[in-house]
């Protein structure tokens, strides 16, 4: 569990950037999207989500703004910035290389069946 948590902590920013690269989202929507798209394998703790979003915002990788949602309520929408996109591309490449390396180590046992 600890190992999983550490792994998730490392890749969480890439995951958030990847999800936001497909369109702007507010906090709850983003946490739902991560769970759905990862088939509920990746679950980002809510206590991690908002500090993570604010940190990404501080690094100018995402930006947040208050907008009215379809329901008429105000929500804070986060969208990826150009800097965020460049960072995402770089990290995706690194992740790809890491996966390749890990597959080689585990003799292809990590590849999806």
């Amino acid at each position: 569990m600890k190992f999983e948590s550490q792994l998730l902590k490392g890749i969480a920013p890439v995951v958030v950037l990847e999800i936001l690269s497909r369109g702007q989202m507010y906090g709850y929507e983003l946490s739902q999207a991560i769970e759905q798209r990862s088939d509920e394998i990746l679950t980002l703790g809510k206590g991690t989500l908002y500090p993570l979003l604010y940190n990404l915002e501080a690094k100018r990788l995402v930006k947040g703004k208050w907008e009215e949602a379809e329901s008429g309520r105000k929500r804070r929408y986060y969208s990826i910035t150009s800097k965020g996109k460049a960072q995402l591309a770089r990290q995706k490449e690194e992740l790809r290389e890491l996966t390749t390396g890990l597959n080689l180590v585990f003799g292809g046992a990590l590849s999806p069946a």
Binding site: G27, Y28, K74
Partner: protein, 629 residues
């Protein structure tokens, strides 16, 4: 709005506290019978304001908190209570800007609203909220993480401003602590410098040889002039030529002066007896009324009556001259010179040395006046010359700065703390008290009691104890050498320009040294002027004796030396050459080139009112013939 009201409330409490502090401090100080000054009152106001402010904050803070919670509760109505409590706990832990907290609150509420949107019953909502709360984890930790993340989000200018305010706050705090420490500094009076001064001044003689016992008695017996006499112009300006001859005064003037002189006859005898003693030693004591034993507070009470006695002596000499008792008249003058010499030898107080020189000059000038009007025989002149020479047998004393150093060190120990950085610092309250005293003593500095802050600031920037002492020692060492250098040497050698030492001192860093003026150059100049007057008087006596015996005046000063009337030639301190002697048809002229260092051909210097003045800025200093100076 509620915030503004709260701030105004705190401000009001601070003002009221300050006013109450003012009243309380004044009442307490008055009850304790302590001198009330600005510093005390300021501390009272500050304490009052501090207490008032603290009380206001204690009472206003819970009120603000309650209002804040009330306002937050309005937003939390859309989510279950347990979720609301979590948000409250997170926001409380955040402790960050109001706007940011509001944003985060809104975002977290929105999160719960979205998560609970599909729940239909309150029970379901509560259960779902419980699950979410678990997912959020520790509220305290989350609050901290959110604060850190939000802090990183703020723009650079805001970070700079925030850090700037923090730095200013820290600085103000440090300054307040420093000021509290600085203002409450106390001196450590550990050395009795007066005892050292007395020891320094005390000669190895018996009481029988001490003139002070006679002078003290004379002062006791001294009868002061009555008001009518004191108001008389002739009495006030007794040095002026117009009043020198007693028989030229009006009958009323003569009567009043004679009466006063007769009242002091016994006093003059005491004075004359004292003047013949080898030494004058007066033990200085602190003023009985002073709580603080401080040399600076010592009043040289004996100087005024002694001046009065000298004045009585001069009038007595004039009366004797009018009565044809020339020998007696000259004796009166010699007494005054001898008394002056006693105080000139005093090592303790510069003021006493200057007073002694003034008395000596008075006696010399009166002898010259007598020589102008009366013709003395060669034998009488010889005797007078011998007696006058013997008064300053060990040489005419120049200024002695030994006592000043001890006096200054006493000022330092009363005005500075002892120990710590730089050996101690100037204590503002003591410094103010000292400067006030200086002002009342006629020093050219205006004490401004209401300017307490500048005095504190000046104390802070003033050199520390060790540095001040080192600088004072440096100045005194230099000036001790300078007092032995004649005005001419100072004038011609740029490297010994004495006046520059004090002028070059930093105005604020060495303020104390500047106001205390250790041995101003004018003082040493006065000593040289006294010395040349003494030498010139003896030379004039020798010239007159030469004329009395040979029937004509000498061609040069060397002639009187060659004939044994004098064994030295007087040096002019303003040219470093011999005084200028000119033989005239039936008289002679003896003069110094004077303060302008130029020979004006014996032209007498004049003051602003165009009256002849011996030591005028322009012209020559003519010792003979006597001018109307």
């Amino acid at each position: 709005m509620y915030r503004l009201i709260a701030y105004l409330g705190v401000l009001g409490c601070i003002i009221i506290g300050g006013i109450l502090g003012l009243f309380v401090s004044v009442i307490v100080l008055a009850t304790l019978d302590v001198t009330i000054n600005n510093l005390h009152v300021l501390i009272g106001i500050a304490l009052g304001a501090l207490i008032g402010g603290a009380l206001a904050v204690i009472h206003v803070c819970p009120y603000i908190r309650k209002l804040r919670e009330k306002k937050l509760a309005k937003y939390l109505t859309s989510i279950p209570e347990n979720a609301g409590n979590l948000i409250k706990a997170i926001i409380k832990q955040m402790r960050y800007r109001r706007k940011v907290r509001r944003d985060v609150t809104a975002e977290l509420i929105a999160h719960f609203e979205d998560a609970l949107r599909e729940c239909t019953t309150n029970e379901e909502k509560g259960q779902k909220a419980g699950e979410l709360i678990e997912q959020f984890g520790d509220a305290k930790l989350l609050g901290v993480l959110l604060r850190r993340a939000k802090k990183r989000c703020r723009p650079l200018w805001r970070t700079v401003v925030a850090r700037g305010f923090q730095a200013v706050g820290v600085l103000i705090l440090c300054l307040a602590v420093y000021l509290a420490w600085f203002l409450t500094g106390k001196p450590n009076i550990s050395v009795d410098y007066l005892a050292i001064l007395n020891q320094m001044n005390r000669p190895q003689i018996t009481d029988e040889d001490n003139a002070w016992l006679h002078y003290e008695k004379a002062i006791e017996l001294y009868v002061e002039p009555n008001e009518s006499l004191e108001r008389m112009p002739v009495f006030q300006n007794y040095r002026e030529a117009a009043y020198r001859q007693f028989d030229k005064l009006t009958g009323e003037e003569q009567r009043e002066i004679r009466e006063w002189v007769e009242q002091n006859n016994a006093v003059q005898e005491k004075l004359a007896a004292g003047s013949l003693k080898r030494y004058c030693y007066r033990e200085s004591r602190y003023n009985d009324k002073d709580e603080e034993k401080f040399i600076w507070n010592i009043i040289l009470w004996h100087v005024n009556p002694l001046s009065g006695l000298a004045k009585a002596g001069i009038w007595q000499s004039r009366i004797h001259t009018e009565e044809g008792k020339f020998q007696q008249a000259i004796k009166d003058c010699l007494t005054i010179i001898r008394v002056g010499r006693h105080w000139q030898n005093n090592k303790a107080f510069t003021a006493e040395q200057l007073f002694g020189r003034a008395m000596s000059n008075l006696g010399h000038n009166e002898i010259l006046n007598i020589l102008t009007t009366e013709v003395l025989s060669a034998a009488e002149l010889k005797q007078l010359q011998q007696e006058l020479s013997q008064i300053y047998l060990d040489g005419y004393p120049l200024l002695n700065a030994n006592g000043y150093r001890e006096m200054f060190l006493d000022v330092i120990q009363h005005l500075f703390t002892e120990g710590g950085l730089g050996g101690g610092h100037l204590i503002p309250e003591r410094f103010m008290r000292f400067e006030k005293r200086m002002t009342t003593r006629g020093y050219p500095y205006k004490f401004k009691e209401h300017l307490i802050i500048p005095y504190i600031a000046r104390s802070i920037v003033h050199a520390r104890r060790d540095e001040t002492i080192a600088k004072a020692n440096e100045i005194l060492e230099r000036q001790t050498k300078l007092v032995k250098i004649s005005p001419y040497e100072k004038h011609t050698k740029a490297d010994v320009a004495s006046g520059e030492i004090l002028k070059d001192l930093s105005k604020h860093k060495y303020h104390l040294l500047r106001i205390m003026q250790p041995l101003p150059p004018e003082f040493s100049k006065l000593a040289f002027e006294g010395k040349v007057l003494h030498k010139a008087t003896i030379t004039i006596l020798a010239i007159l004796r030469y004329e009395a015996e040979k029937g004509n005046y000498p061609e040069t000063l060397e002639d009187i030396m060659a004939e044994g009337y004098l064994n030295w030639i007087p040096t002019d301190p303003y040219s470093s050459k011999p005084l200028i002697y000119k033989k005239m048809e039936d008289d002679f002229q003896l003069y110094s080139v004077g303060l302008n260092f130029e020979d004006d051909g014996g032209k007498v210097g004049k003051d602003r009112k165009d009256k002849p003045r011996l030591w005028a800025d322009e012209g020559d200093v003519v010792f003979w013939p006597i001018q109307d100076n």
